[in-house]
């Protein structure tokens, strides 16, 4: 292969394919015994610290600038502010996200003396009027959002990039409008990104100690990584993407260790494996569970989240209504209510029309419907199927076979193989008068199957199915209204799909038993339940509800739109002043970052193809840095972005935030790849067996600084241009909004 074939820049004057470093004779030119401690001089270290301090100061200013405005509830502060209040009250709530970040907010509130009296009900509710110390609450996310910046800087620095590259990455993160807006409000994403960067930073540190395995430093950084990924996941389940990023790197690392050329015995390899299993699996699991333990320990009172949980769970909460339930006995008159649609099982002295509009024929029996109001026709008397032994006065147990007598018309509930009024696949439910002969007895027996709440039927507490004995259908109702002949009440029919969740009913009342009796009967003791059962139930509910968040939202967007910033989110508006907060990234910055991702793909693709043809366009050290450092951040971007394509739930632009941080790091690294010659190295700690390595220094030419400053200028200009929309502190004019509308989909308010 000749050089003319290559369209890639020749990276350096080093021969195209340098042999592996361990056989590199050049190293011997330096003093062979001397082990290089650090490639950086002390002057560079000082410069780096100054840069770090400056950037951190900028970050704090950007996050805390006019943090008191607006003094109103903004966007999802509705949720997360509310949850913080519930923690302070100790009342049980349900959310799809794990508890850590909300508990941090609550802790912040606790320290600044907030008592949780405000419920953050609507966007635009005034904080000052309600006496809420919202600045303190916002200070926590804002601080962590600012602290993300030094973490980004240090991560890049530890990964071996020159100060310029690190500063660029940090600068991009400081002056991104989305990161600013989202981290200075009472939201979870600030904690998420902070812990995520902690994880990445710790992992880079850990990887750099790999030549001294099982040393104290090695253990410390590994456990720090483990704890950080656990904290990330304890904020939002998105943290699992961070876990995946680290996980892939760890698996790759283990695979390398397994290679026989690494001269590890199997025992040594397994030690590596077990150590990582402890540090990166076991400890994180414990930390994750710990926050749930604290969660349950704080939320001891009954609250708005009760209904999401099982009866057994609710009974562990103080003041829950479950304990109000009383046991149903044979002969009682009960009302039966559908769990999902909250209608009563109802019947009345009107019959199904013999012939429906579509020509089908019914049994013309008495109608059984679902009715949403209290009515004497909702009363059913519960009988055993055993005529001789009526069991009157005995408690109704799980799997008992019962008959239900409609009290007002004195007829038995019955299901039979006749198509229901609206669904030909389902059976008609009707009743059968007690005056007639008993020939249809077998069609009136139902088995009562309790799905929760113990093994005896209890009002309020027990959810049950009524399974028709002879035809195996479950009594079911759905929101379909019957036509005029059914008084627009809900249709009740026999469902062949027995496992459907909407088959559940509950008995909410026993006629003639009043509250005082209830009080006497039940002791109202709060029960206990093992932590692990509570955790498993809550975790399951979180996952299923998260997947169930499919309702469309006016500002939702699809993942493909995010990197290109096709659409933002309106966070908050104020009509009088025409101020608004519109969540949008730094448009120019994000678009340049996307281009840099394309560069990554292009360069690695071209490198792959040319190496396949026996041509090595990149200097080996540059290539290694490109794949191990830049490539790692790129993998981070992939893992924090691509999985969203598989999610069915409603998605928003701010879900791109973690990936956005990675994309800025990649952008800075790509800038370095293009403009900086060579790399600094070695950067890993030397170990006892490390051979002396050749010291390499990157050459940062003037053009690198020039382009870096241009990039910063573009980024900062773009940030300032959109800052009024990000901070919501001033209202741009209509013309000003029109100027800021780079894309027609950016639907600002007050644009006309």
């Amino acid at each position: 292969a000749t050089g003319s074939e290559s369209t890639l820049r020749q990276r350096s004057t080093v021969p195209k394919h340098t042999p592996p470093t361990d056989s590199n004779t050049a190293a011997t030119e330096d003093a062979p015994k001397k082990v290089i401690k650090s490639v950086f001089t002390s002057a560079e270290k000082t410069n780096s610290l100054i840069a770090l301090a400056g950037l951190t100061a900028l970050a704090i200013v950007s996050r805390f600038y006019k943090i008191n405005e607006p003094d109103e509830v903004v966007f999802d502060e509705v949720h997360f502010g509310k949850f913080a209040s519930y923690y302070l009250r100790g009342s049980y709530f349900f959310d799809v996200h794990p508890p850590l970040a909300k508990m941090m907010l609550a802790a912040m509130g606790y320290f600044i003396g907030y008592d949780g009296h405000f419920l953050f009900d609507n966007i635009g509710d005034k904080y000052n009027d309600n006496n809420v110390p919202y600045i303190g609450l916002r200070a926590l996310p804002a601080f962590l959002g600012a602290m993300t910046v030094p973490l980004v800087y240090m991560t890049m620095r530890e990964a071996g990039f020159p100060i310029l590259t690190c500063a660029l990455a940090a600068f991009f993160v400081i002056f991104d409008n989305m990161l600013v807006t989202q981290t200075r409000l009472i939201l979870l994403d600030s904690m998420l990104v902070f812990f995520m960067m902690c994880s990445i930073y710790s992992y880079v540190r850990f990887y750099k100690t790999r030549n001294n395995p099982f040393s104290l430093k090695w253990w410390s950084w590994m456990i720090a990584t483990g704890i950080s990924i656990a904290l990330t996941t304890s904020v939002k389940m998105v943290g699992l993407f961070t876990v995946a990023t680290i996980g892939v790197a760890v698996i790759w690392d283990l695979w390398e260790l397994l290679d026989i050329r690494r001269r590890l015995t199997m025992q040594q390899f397994m030690n590596h494996f077990y150590a990582r299993a402890i540090g990166l699996i076991l400890i994180p699991v414990v930390v994750y569970l710990f926050w749930f333990y604290v969660h349950f320990a704080i939320l001891i009172n009954s609250g708005p989240g009760d209904d999401f949980m099982s009866t057994e769970f609710q009974e562990t909460l103080k003041g829950n209504t479950m304990a109000d339930g009383i046991y149903v006995k044979y002969g009682d008159n009960i009302t039966i209510r559908h769990k999902d649609t909250s209608v009563y099982l109802h019947s009345h002295a009107h019959n199904y029309p013999l012939r429906y509009d579509d020509g089908r024929i019914s049994s013309a029996g008495q109608q059984v419907t679902g009715y949403s109001h209290e009515d004497p026709n909702n009363l059913w008397q519960i009988y055993s199927d055993n005529v001789e032994n009526t069991k009157i006065g005995n408690q109704v147990k799980d799997k008992d076979v019962i008959r239900l007598l409609h009290v007002a018309t004195s007829s038995w509930l019955l299901a039979h193989d006749v198509a229901s009024p609206t669904m030909t696949t389902n059976e008609e439910i009707t009743t059968y008068s007690t005056n007639e002969d008993g020939s249809r007895f077998n069609e009136t027996t139902f088995q009562i199957i309790l799905e929760s709440g113990g093994d005896k039927l209890r009002t309020m507490a027990s959810n049950f199915k009524l399974l028709h004995q002879s035809t195996k259908v479950a009594i079911w109702t759905h929101s379909q209204k019957l036509p005029d002949w059914g008084f627009e009440q809900q249709e009740v029919n026999g469902n062949k799909n027995l496992v459907q969740k909407s088959n559940l009913w509950l008995s909410d009342n026993i006629e003639g038993k009043n509250a005082s009796e209830i009080d006497q009967e039940s002791s109202k003791a709060v029960k206990t339940r093992s932590f692990i059962l509570k955790f498993l139930e809550l975790q399951g509910k979180m996952i299923s509800h998260n997947a169930g968040l499919t309702d469309s939202h006016p500002y939702q967007s699809s993942p493909i739109e995010w990197p290109f910033l096709v659409r933002g989110i309106s966070f908050w508006t104020e009509n009088e002043t025409r101020k608004q907060i519109y969540l949008i990234g730094n448009p120019l910055g994000m678009w340049i970052a996307v281009a840099s991702l394309a560069v990554i793909i292009g360069v690695s693709g071209a490198d792959l193809l040319s190496r396949r043809r026996g041509f090595y366009p990149l200097n080996q050290d540059v290539q290694k840095r490109f794949y191990y450092a830049t490539g790692f951040f790129f993998i981070g971007w992939i893992f924090h972005y691509i999985p969203f394509f598989l999610m069915g739930r409603a998605l928003f632009l701010h879900h791109y935030m973690p990936a956005l941080v990675f994309s800025y790091m990649v952008l800075a690294a790509v800038h370095g790849f293009i403009f900086i010659e060579g790399v600094d190295g070695p950067i890993s700690d030397p170990g006892p067996e490390t051979r002396p390595r050749q010291l390499q220094r990157a050459i940062v030419p003037v053009i690198a600084y020039a382009t870096g400053i241009i990039l910063m200028a573009i980024h900062l200009g773009s940030f300032l241009f959109f800052a009024p929309l990000s901070y919501g502190t001033s209202a741009p004019s209509v013309a000003g909004l029109a100027r800021r509308k780079f894309l027609p989909q950016w639907d600002y308010h007050f644009a006309k």
Binding site: W255, L258, D259, I260, T265, M266, Q267, M423, T425, T471, K472, V473, H478, N495, K496, N497, L498, V499, Q500, S552, P554, L609, R612, R613, G614, P744
Partner: protein, 796 residues
Amino acid sequence: MYTSENIKRRNPVGSSFSRDQGHQQQQDDHHYNSQNENQNRASADPYGPNPLKPAFQQQQQHQQQHQSSVAAYGYRDHYQFGYAPPRKEYSANKYIRFYQENDYILIPTLLTLVSFWTRFRDIKSSDYVVWDEAHFGKFGSFYIKGDFYFDVHPPLGKMLVGLSGALAGYDGTFGFDSGAKYPDINYGFMRIFNAFFGAIMVPLAYWTSQELRMSQAACIFAAVLVLFDNAYLTISRFILLDSMLLAATCFVFFCLTRFRNERHDPFSLDWWLWLAMTGVAIGLVSSIKWVGLFVTALVGLNTIEELWDLFGDLSLPKTTYVKHWVARAACLIALPFSVYVASFALHFAILRNSGPGDAQMSSLFQAGLNGNDFRNNPLYVAYGSKVTIKNTGYGGGLLHSHVQTFPEGSGQQQVTCYHHKDNNNNWVIKNVKSEEVPEDAGSPRILRNGNLIRLGHEQTNRSLHSHRIKAPVTSAQWEVSGYGDDTTNDANDEWVIEVVDENSHHPKDGQLRSLSTTFRLRHRVLGCLLTAENVNLPQWGFRQIEVTCDTRNRTNSPHSIWNIEQHWNDNLPAGEGNLYKSKFWKDFWHLNVAMMTSNNALIPDPDKEDVLASNPSQWPLLAVGLRMCGWGDDAVKFYLLGNPIVWWGGTLSLGVFALTVCYYIVRRQRKFQDVTPMEWDQFLSAGKLLVGGWFLHYIPFCIMGRVTYLHHYFPALYFSLLLFSFVIDHFVNRPGVSRKVRNVVWAVAFTAVTFTFLFFWDVSYGIRGPAAETMTSRQWRGAWNIIDDHKPNTFI
């Protein structure tokens, strides 16, 4: 446990000749056995000489090639490292010798004959329309009658059904109602025609296994797995597309493996032949059902891999490399596409008459069908005309409304786009209130560009209406509803006609003509365009297409452009019958988009549980069967159920294969040589194809939202069956496995499959009498509803 002693024992890759003594001894013993065996052994190298290997290795391989005699069809006799070339030793007995000399033809012939017998026997046992015969028999009838119909599947399979009917002398008049008794038509022949395709899967499985270099016993076992799977048997015996799809899938895979084995000799006649055959085969399979695209994807991935391998061959001239690309592009893209298009050309050529599928196509296409009355439409459209309005986008429907209302948004009457012709598509063009012009004053007023109109729905008298309320699905646009009537209407009912184009010889004078003039309808107040963009409404909208008022003002989008399809006006003269030909490519594309749209609408209704549908997670372990007909005691009942041993074995082999590969990979990283590099290549390359085939035919069903049925798993099953045999073969042909053990394993495997098949015989050939009396012992899994009607769903 892993001491330095252990490490010493490992062999570096590539030095497989220098095995230590103990190993060699073992191999020699084994070799002694295998000589007596007299059977073709699995070859070590799948492709013969590999162009990518260094030259000295290639030479070695050539020598080996010479030593081994190429005897049988499609079968090259290689030997493994450490063996002398196995020579066939023929028996002295002349009959046995005859068999030994001709086994390559005798075995597949015998398998095929048994396959024909199992597929064809007693095929007329049920004289009524079973299961989806109701669909596909009916579609076949349309071809015989030439009536245009619409269906979500491409036409080839259904044309073959039509062909079978034509050959059977059927005149196309039977309605194929589900469960109806067959009148005097030769449905037996039609079923045999279908069953033929199911039957040839068996020899294809045999030959494919040979191409994958399995041993003879394994090839036979793979064929027997296909032969004795009750599900394949059952589904082949009725007038359905599945047997054709399966046979075509098997054929593609056979061609692919055959082509791979020609890779040592590129651009030879055989190489070209099998490459082209692969192309034709993927064309055929995709023209039967779109599921064929999955096996096409397998071919595509394989092609990418081959091209990548060739790319790394530095000795290959660049022109040769380009030739590889061109050859594949021609044979694997152009050729299949031609086959696919040809099937549609034939489809349009046969279906010349107006039929039930008209409304899916463009108005111009419909006008070209025999028996269509569009040519009688009055030419010019006027106020007072009654019209149907067709969206010009690919797959566009007719503007429709019905009494049902939106459950959200305004709650007013729904307006949708619909592909079925009924009276709810009729709209009357009316004056707007602001321009009081008497409608019947003298001659009708012809519509022109820029005119303001109100569209009244004929059946409900509601007006086409839009307002600042979000559309139900595409929430960025405004909702379009039916609202008000002649007395109560407001400015939101007013639409402006914007004439776009004229598709006829008439001048573009801005007048609105039926069929040929395309136009936009712009809401006067909101300025948005009436648009229908192939987005299906939820169940409450009957999955019809959502109609919105699009504010983006995309004046060129065909989804915002409409034409008048049918037109009635008593005051205007009937049209002179001008016909404007629609173009084939437009029709082709139109039909394909319509198929895609309808396919997307086939998503399960969460409110209703379909007893026939099943979940992909239930398939691999056969958690579910499917009743194919009514379950009355006196009916002959068919239950679509696989042979459990076959299905479970196939699924198990996937897991075993994955674990084995992991084991070998990890061991190789530690340089333990469990298999020779050639065995490893062979194991991986064949396994990759089989697992890839299974994966590509299974995973998409887990992702796609549409309703899925048990028989969607059948193509994937084929790959897992071959893998089943392949995995057993790999383990019984290891050094150290004695011949005795090998024979026992195969005997057990064959017996288990055969007996389970016989045990479930009635399930496939028809259960006579009450199921509960005879079938109780067959109820192996709780969720099978062979006997009991109401079984809970189980996952996995």
